[in-house]
Each structure stands twice: as C-alpha cells, then as structure tokens.
C-alpha cells in the first residue's frame, strides 16, 4: 500500500503542476483590460490628457506579452500594471508620449528577439564559444562607452549618432547569462567553473568601479552570491561571502590610502574620485543637514516628500533632479501617495514570487538558474530603490524597472522577461505540456503528438496505479475478513 501511495505522489510530481495555476490567456486579457480601464479612469481624474495613446499601446502590448509569456504569465501580468503606472508618472513628470511609445515598442521587440534567440538554446549547447562571445561583448560595450565619452562625464553611456545607450544595463544582462553558463559544471569541473565565475565577477566589478557604477556593482554581487548558492554546495557560498567582504574592506582601505596620499594621476585619480563619491553619498545620507543646498539636498527633499505625501499623494511632483530615473519612486510617493507605492511594491513582490514559482517547474538546472538570477536582479533593483526611498540606503543610481525613465533600462528589463519566459517554457527542455503560450508552438503536429502521447502515458500510469491500489485494498479487506473469522472461531471455541 505504501509503495502505491508513493507512486501516486511521484505521479503528482511528474504532472505539470504549474499549468493549472497559470491564469488562462482569456482571463488574463479580461484582467488586463479591467485594470487598464481603472488606471485610465485614474489618469483622467488626475487630469493627464496625453495618456490615451500610450495607454492603448500598453494595453495591446500587455495582451501580447500575456500571450507570449506562457508559464511566466502570472509574473508578466503585474508588470503590465506597473508599466501602466510607470507611463502615468513619466507623463506627469513631463516625458514626451511619443518617446515613451517608442521606448516601449523598442523594448518589446528586443524582448521578443531575445526570447527567440534564447529559445534556440544556443548558449548552453555551445557553452565555450557562448562564454567567449559574451565576455567579448561585455568588453566591447565597456570600451565603446569609455571611448564615446558618456553623458555628463559618466563613462557608462555609449553615444552613437545622437542615440545614447546605457552600457552597464546591457553588460549586466550579458553578465547574468554568462555567469549562469560558467557555473554549469559536473563533479570534475566544479572548482574550475567556480574559479571562472569568480574571475568573471571580479572583472565585472573592476569595470563597474572604473565606471563609477556602484549601484550596479552591488546588484551583480547579489546575483553572483545567489548563483553561487544555487550552483554549488553551501560552503562555496560562505567562502564567497567571506572573501567578498574581505575584498571590500581591502578595496576601501586601498582607496582611502590613495585618496589620503593626494596622488591623482591615471588610475589613482579614478579610484580617488570613486572613493570620494561613495564617501559623500554615505556622509550626506547620514547627515544631509551638512549641506542642505547641494549634496544633502536630495536626501532632505526625499525625507520631506515622504513625510508630506500622505496616503493619497499630493498635487505636485518633486523639484528634485533625477526624479525621472534614480528618484522616481520618490516622485511616485509624492504624486500617488503611500497606498499606491506600497501596492506597487506588492505587485513587484507578486511578480518575483511567480518567477520563482515558474523556476521551480523547470527541470533543467541551467534554465532554472537563469530565471532565478534574473528575477533576483530585478527584485534587487526594486528593493535597493525602495530602501533608498525609505531612507535605509544612500542613493545608488539604479533605476526602478518599468517605472524609471530610460530606454536601455526598459529594454534590458523587457529582455529579461522575454528570456525568463523562454526559459520557463518546458516544451523545449523536457517533454512539454499544458498552457505554454506561443512558445508551446501548438500548431506543430509533432508537439501535439508529443503532448497527446504524454497525456496517454500519464493516463495509463494512473489507471495501472489505481488498479494496483484497488487490488491491494481488496486483498487487504480479504485478509481482514479472514482475521475476523479466525477471531470469531477462537471466541466460539472458548465459549464451547
């Protein structure tokens, strides 16, 4: 009997458990339209006239994303709502609707392309070449950013013919895929792959330090620790944490020495200015009153906005600079209030949870890792910004996914969702069944046959197990009856 129950349990594990929990496409369309109409009504109440065109685009694209995302649909749905609010806040902050529409269109196209490329599984199948190309891409993008001069002195932007691309966002995405690929190993290559991942991360850390991108550095370190934790035994994670902390202390010590020595030539100048930047951010975060009109200004404004916004927000948007990107959550707080900001946090949490749920369903470790790493990256970004807005961290320069202004940021996040949707599509990596959106390729006869044969196989398995269970129950009942008869006989004998 025990064996039979275990078999049923295993059978349950074999079934695509996630399928029934993913909201059906039709229902998702209804949800999208209902929520979008509610947001449209809210926008009208707020007096936002430019919203309609972008709103229609967001609605259509959300429906398309829902159709394409398959098992990631539950995660994509809240993001559509966040995006709609993001559009609303950006229009309120004075962004051109046309630019916004273009950004969304471009991001959506790149997301589909990224997903289509990823679906072919080329990187996993050509691991070595894939890693080399990715490392080359990271170095190429960084070099381009350094050469092109960047924006406002920052060396993390590529400027080509009036178009600006934030190189760090793209390198971050490539790094995540590269890291997950590098950490793929067997018993024999465990140490080698671990070392390769460490070298890759150290290299990335060096690039981000040179580019003064400490927010992104923090983020990739979180992703790195997560991937190490998922790929290797716990002791590797502990070593990584310890070494990372040690390196951070040593790095800060060296930077302090260079800064104190007064040497400013070449690399020393870069390190010194980076040290100064971090120190300033920490000092004025802890005590913004020291320089209320300059370095502490943003922190004081943030605090004031937090305290004055109330549950439903105010009629104004902050006069603080970078309110469209770095301080966008502060602007959301000010305009829409605490309730909506917390609701957004809930939507981000729900989306993340659904990504992890989808990762659980994926059998292949590599793709599972890709989903986990990307979801941690997006979640980390949101948490860091929310922590800054709440006053628990200094400003980092990260941008809030789906809300913050920035074509490259939007493109990267969309690409991540595209890749995650492709990674969560089980048809590619295992037998495949259930509602997988467009990725299930249901028009394919082969796929349908596969699905049918799998269902038939499961049905047969179920029937055989149930009949086995039934037989066992009958035989047990027979045994019990026999025992009872024996007992009765014994009693009768005693009475006699």
């Amino acid at each position: 009997m025990k064996n039979v129950l275990e078999n049923i349990k295993n059978l349950d594990n074999d079934t695509p458990v996630g399928c029934s929990r993913v909201i059906p496409f039709k229902k998702s369309v209804v949800v999208i339209i209902a929520v979008m109409l509610a947001i449209l009504l809210y926008a009208i109440i707020l007096g936002q006239k430019n919203f309609l065109g972008v709103f229609l685009q967001v609605t259509v694209f959300s429906i398309l994303a829902s159709a394409l995302s398959g098992r990631m649909r539950n995660s994509v749905l809240p993001c559509s709502i966040i995006l709609a609010f993001g559009v609303l806040i950006q229009l309120t902050l004075g962004m051109s609707p046309l630019k916004l529409q273009l950004d969304i269109l471009l991001a959506s196209v790149t997301a589909v392309i990224a997903a289509a490329v990823y679906k072919r599984n080329v990187i996993k199948l050509n691991k070595r070449i894939g890693v080399i190309i990715m490392v080359a891409a990271i170095l190429g993008l960084t070099a381009l950013a350094m050469i092109s001069g960047g924006i406002g002195g920052a060396s993390n932007w590529i400027l080509i013919g009036g178009i600006s691309i934030q190189a760090t966002e793209l390198t971050k995405l490539i790094y995540i895929i590269c890291l997950c690929t590098v950490t793929e190993h067997n018993k024999a290559t465990e140490l080698k792959s671990f070392a390769a991942s460490c070298i890759l991360t150290l290299g990335m850390a060096g690039i981000y330090i040179l580019q003064n991108e400490f927010g992104t550095l923090l983020l990739i370190l979180v992703v790195f620790i997560t991937v190490i934790f998922l790929s290797y035994s716990t002791k590797y994670t502990l070593y990584t944490l310890a070494v990372s902390l040690l390196l951070a202390f040593v790095g800060i010590g060296i930077a302090w020495l260079i800064h104190s020595s007064g040497i400013r030539g070449g690399i020393f100048g870069i390190i010194s200015s980076a040290y100064e930047k971090i120190l300033d951010r920490i000092v004025y975060w802890l005590n913004p009153e020291q320089d209320i009109y300059n370095k502490g200004y943003q922190y004081i404004q943030r605090k004031q906005i937090m305290l004055t916004t109330g549950l439903f927000g105010t009629e104004t948007t902050t006069s603080v600079g970078i309110k469209e990107s770095d301080l966008v959550l502060t602007a959301v707080m000010e305009r829409f209030g605490v309730i909506l900001s917390v609701l957004l946090m809930f939507l981000y949490t729900f989306s993340f949870w659904q990504q992890i749920t989808a990762a659980h369903k994926v059998c292949d470790g590599y793709h599972k890792k890709i989903i986990a790493a990307m979801s941690v990256s997006i979640a980390g970004q949101v948490i860091v910004i929310a922590a800054y807005t709440g006053g628990a961290l200094p400003i980092t320069g990260l941008c809030l996914p789906f809300i913050g202004r920035g074509g490259t940021v939007m493109m990267t996040v969309f690409m991540m969702y595209g890749i995650m949707s492709a990674a969560a599509h089980r048809d590619i990596w295992d037998s495949g069944h259930g509602d997988n959106g467009i990725w299930s390729d249901t028009s394919s006869i082969e796929s349908k046959k596969k699905e049918k044969s799998h269902i038939k196989h499961l049905k047969n398995k179920c029937t055989s197990l149930l009949s086995e269970a039934k037989n066992l129950t009958i035989s047990k009942a027979g045994d019990n009856k026999l025992n009872d008869n024996t007992k009765e006989d014994g009693q009768n004998e005693g009475e006699n």
Partner: protein, 463 residues
Amino acid sequence: MKEKIKLQTVSTIIILLFMTTAMLLIKNSGVIGFLSDEDMKAEKERIIRTAKENEYTMGDIIDHDGNIICHTDKDSDTRYCSLGEAAGNLVGFANDTGDSIGLEEMYHSELAYDKSDKEGKYGKTMRLSINSKLQSVLYNAMKDYSGGAVVLEVDTGRIMAMVSTPSFDPTNIKENYNEIAKQDGVFFNKAYRSNIAPGSVFKLVTSIGILENKLDKEKVNDSGEVEVDGTVIRNAGHNAYGKIGYADALTHSSNVYFVTKALELGTANMQNILDRCLIGKEIVTDLSDNPLKSTGVYTSWTQKELAYSAFGQGNVTVTPLHMAAIVQGIANYGDMKCPWIVEGIYDSKGETSYDYHNSMRTLSKLTNKSVCKKILTAMERNWESYSFGASNPLEIGAKTGTAEVLENGLMKYNAWMTAVMPVSNPKYVIVAVDIGGNYSGIQMRPVIEAAAGCLSALDGENK
C-alpha cells in the same frame, strides 16, 4: 542542500526584503500614527508648515499707532523697513538661509502664514508697542554711541522705543547681508542682550535697602575713600563730600556713602533686594526666546565684593532693558512690570488670538511708595545738578553711572543714564548706555533730552 530548498531560501529572503522595504515606506511616511515617533511628527508638522509659508508673503509689522514699519512687496519680493537702521536690530529679519534675528525671527511663524488669507496670501500683521517717531529720535540720538537705549511706559511696562547701535537697514537684507555682516556686532541687540556692569545707576537698587531700613537717617562722613578688607575704595575724581545724607550722596554719586550703607545692610538684606529686582534671575519676555539675563548673587560674597556691588561694580551685571525695568518699578511706586513689545498679531479679518496682557504682567513688588518717592526726588535733584540751575519743565529725574571695565588691559567705560519723567507723576522711563567706550554717564544726557523732548511732544499731540 536540495536545489528546491535553495530556491525557496532565495525567494524567502527576497520576499522578506520586499516586505521590509514596503514597511519602511509606510513607517517613514508617518501615515500610521503609532509607527511614527515624536520627532517624526514634529518634523512632518514643520515641513507642512514651511511648505505653506513658502506660498505666502511675510505679513506687515506696524507700530502702536498703526504706521507700517515693515512691508513686503509681492512683485519684487523685497521687504521694506520704513524705520531703516532705527529699527534694524529690533525687527531684524528672517532669511531663507536660516540667518534670522529679532522679532521677525521670534514671530516668523505668525508673520509667514495666515490661514484666513487664502486669496491675498499674506502672513499675519504684527502690531508693536513702539512709536515710530520716538524710535527714530532715540536712534538718531544714539547714533554716535555704541550701545543701547530703551523707553518704557511706567504704568504698563510697554516698550515705546528700543534701539541698539551700530545698526543696519533690514531693507534688501538678502542682497546686502554679506556687506552688513562684516560690521562687528551689528546684528546684536545691545539694549536687550548686553549683560554689563551698571556702575552708579545700581545705587538706585542699593537705595531701596538704605531707605527701607531707614539707614538714611544717619549721615556718613565722606572723606573721599573707605577701606574694606584692606582695599581702599574711592569716590570718582577722588572727591570728598564731608558729612552727607542720602539725597546728596545720590546727587554726588558718593561711593563712600553707598559702600558704608551697604556694609551696614549686610549680605542678607542686599540679597533680598536683589531678589526683588530679579538680579541673577532670568526674565522671559515677548522679545525673544532668550530671556533677559543678569548676574549678582550675594550669599557667598565677601565684604569687599558686597562693597563693590553697592555702586554697581564687581560681580553685578544687568542688561539695559532690565535696568530700565528696575527704574520703571521705582517710578511705578514699587510695581515692577515686565517689559513687552507685541501688542497684537492680527489675521486678514482683523482678529487676534494674541493677548498682550499675558506679557504685561507684574514681575515683582520692589518696595513701598514712600521709598520710591524719596528715590525719585533724589533723582530729580540729581538731574537738576547737571543743568547748573536751569529749569526742569519736564520734571526729569535721572541717575548716571560710569562703570569701569577692563578689556584686554585697557580701561573702558559703560556710560549709563537712567531717567524718569515727570517725577511728580512718572509716565516714562528712559535708559541709555554706551558700552565699552570712553564716555562718562553724564555724556548720555543728549540722548535722554532728545527722548524726553519727543515724549513731551507726543504727549502734546495726544492732548
């Protein structure tokens, strides 16, 4: 660890972090009362208030008769002060940069916002007890000195004028701030805040003890000096006045007389008089958050210290306003009132919730009427002695004082003159002091005369 558990661990940590940051947003926004501490509530209130104030234009300051002293022009965002330098230290200013002084600092929240004025968006109007004409006259008379001067109304303690020199013009303070700030002590209201040695004007305080205890009945043989604990104390100019009584001693400002009588009075009696004059105690006024301060505790003093204090040297220090309040107490026959300046703060509808009667309170009962009358008579004689026989139609009674102050090895003087007018029915008290200069008390006479003349003219106008 199994892959599934690892993934669950990661997701749990991230979800917990999400929750924490969401809670942080709720907590730090102060929307939930019990999650906000007192500091946060106060900060929130301040920010909301500041935001409202930024929308409003500073309200007017007017004088006792309704003449505008300060007004802000909305279009040019300039605050004009009609009295210019004459009221610079008194009304002060409230800068965006946080450098604020004077009444504008003290009453900034009232002047900056008036919830009843939703259309005009002007702050409340503050009415002061001063008279603009008298203020100007007093300032012009004090211009050549470096010190402070005060005119009080005897019955009420109302400040009719208060000046401090050097001063500045609060008009266009934003543009001129750096230039003005270069002048030493220009933002310091000396009449209110300079806690200095009073010199012989303090003999008025010692007089209370002498007259109350009837020590004036016995004359003192003034040989020009008196020895206390091995230290010789002399009269000013080393003058000897022979056998003199109280009135002559006050007129000649005999140190020997007052030292002798103070030693007879003893520490306890002097302490009692100082307590009644609130010397050594803080007096809260409506002029500033900082109370009036003075020093002078006799309890543990030696005979020498007691002797020096009898004529306002040694460890006794007072502010000009405090001294004016003591003289006002004598002129008011013992009823010492708190000096006050704000008569009302009005909203756009002309309504006020500010009651100046709270400020116009009795601070202390100094002594009885007969003692006060004796002092006032002696003061009148004293003033007449300065006039070399000229008539005293305004019935001014006065007492001078020249306190010696050693500053960086150099002897400097606080030149005081306190006056009451008219002595027969005291209405006004005038106190003028030059601080740390080379004047003597008698040289402050033009200031007293100018103020007295103006007061007399004002009385004539009112009639």
